[in-house]
């Protein structure tokens, strides 16, 4: 009896780990934007929704090979990130934070409504079903395994970009002292635009992984946008390493909590944990 119990707990923990990888990737783009530009893209998950629709239409309607459709989706969402920055964020860069929040919130509802008009409210599915992988008594969804692997790869790539390249060093530098950047020969507006495209590309990558697991509909952003934002806050907004760790902690609460009680309870427990942390460490778990 106790053997069986343990193996399902282990399965829950491992599924939590897989979920954590995906949540970590989701939080990475939002943290990057906040850390560098000091603006929260409340509409981040809606960019992901756009990416999911891009994969769907290119693959299902226009019969592009799935991988090509996904690559195109990453490019499209990167472009959306750039457009979002140039036309919405730039004009309010020096405005009050609440105004910045409100404009990106406005974009959230704009994208939701636009998607409803353009694509309808019915759920869409790319029609790709991946088998589940069985290891002993445990079973894991292949889509989740792929998502975990790609998310980790994306994060390693991001880490290398930020630490090994001039662009990455400038991205980290600009978040520490924006005003001195021209003395380095760096045009801050250009770094902001590139960072926004990069944040968009990360959202695009996330959309490729989510489209393997979830149906697409105009409100899909609401089912993981808030979680992504809370994870970033939990790890300390703008702290990419903190967000990474927080994603795995949060995912364990959901997975293991869901194992002991019911799936919905996992979320309840995770959010109670979040609220408790906000009382205890209002600037996030890893704030200094």
């Amino acid at each position: 009896m106790s053997d069986v119990f343990d193996i399902y707990l282990l399965e829950a923990v491992l599924n939590g780990l897989l979920l954590g990888g995906l949540l970590a990737l989701l939080s990475l783009g939002l943290n990057l934007i906040f850390g560098v530009i000091d603006v929260v893209w409340i509409c981040y998950a809606e960019l992901i929704m756009c990416g999911m629709y891009a994969v769907y239409y290119l693959h299902v309607q226009y019969h592009w090979p799935l991988l090509l459709a996904m690559l195109a989706a990453i490019g499209i969402v990167a472009l959306l990130g750039l457009i979002l920055h140039q036309f919405v964020i730039r004009p309010v860069l020096s405005a009050e934070p609440i105004n910045q929040l409100l404009v990106t919130g406005g974009v959230l509802f704009f994208l939701q409504a636009a998607a409803t008009l353009a694509f309808g409210i019915e759920f869409k599915n790319i029609g790709v079903t991946l088998a589940s992988v069985r290891i002993g008594e445990m079973s894991f969804s292949a889509a989740r395994l792929i998502a975990f692997g790609v998310a980790l790869g994306g994060m390693v790539g991001m880490y290398l970009l930020l630490t090994k390249t001039y662009l990455g060093t400038a991205i980290r530098a600009i978040s520490q002292d924006r005003a001195v950047m021209p003395l380095m020969g760096v045009n801050p507006a250009r770094i902001f635009a590139l960072t926004s495209a990069l944040g968009g590309a990360l959202a695009g990558l996330a959309s490729c992984l989510l489209v393997l697991q979830y149906d697409i509909h105009p409100a899909i952003g609401l089912s993981f946008g808030p979680i992504t934002f809370l994870i970033c806050v939990l790890g300390g907004l703008g702290n990419m390493v903190g967000g990474f760790v927080a994603a795995f902690i949060f995912a364990q609460f959901i997975a293991v909590g869901g194992f002991f009680f019911a799936l919905e309870w996992g979320y309840v427990i995770a959010f109670v944990f979040f609220i408790a942390v906000m009382f205890w460490r209002p600037r996030g778990l890893f704030a200094k």
Binding site: Y166, R172, Q176, P182, V186
Partner: protein, 232 residues
Amino acid sequence: MLRVANVSAGYSGFQALFGVSLEVNAGESVAVIGPNGAGKTTLLRLISKLIESTQGEVFLEDKSLKAVPPYEVVARGIAHVPENRRLFPRLTAEENLRMGAFTSRHAYRQRLDQVYALFPRLKERRNQVAGTLSGGEQQMCAIGRALMSGPKLLLLDEPSAGLAPVVVQSIFELVRRICSEGYTVLIVEQNIRQVLKVVSRAYLLDAGRIVQSGSAAELLAAPEIQKAYLGL
């Protein structure tokens, strides 16, 4: 090399510079001295285009900088070590130096060796984040970062500010070495006695106007300066 021609500038509602003119020749080290609030920092910020002049122009090698955006000034050959050093505190010393070479990556390795030869201490500390370096090391890192761009002209804003007296000595020793290595240097300082021992010429800036100029020795000996600034 550098010619500042009759420039005026200021911040909203406040004029800081009134028709300032000065010249720095190639290979020369020149100081702008003066009391706190004289407009020294504003003058350097104007030369590197961090602020616009309301009147007058700045020429580098007889080319006007008027239409040059601030982030292209480095590529034109002016490197600016700003007031309070302004290192990136959470980047390592070497990453700060890398930022200095942002516009001239091809020469990164070679210049890094040059900077480390000039400041062996920085090489020892290269993987330490800049925020944890000592004041003197931070100043070395800030100067090194500016030298990484291979500048024709080096602007130094109060390199001795905020440093312990014993460190101030060594910073001026460093500035002397940089001047003697053939760099063209324009330095602004409140620490008048020390800086006049290092440079060849100087201008006295007071309340936004150049009120006196001459060789360092002349200014050191000038009675007005001795009385007002050196407390003799």
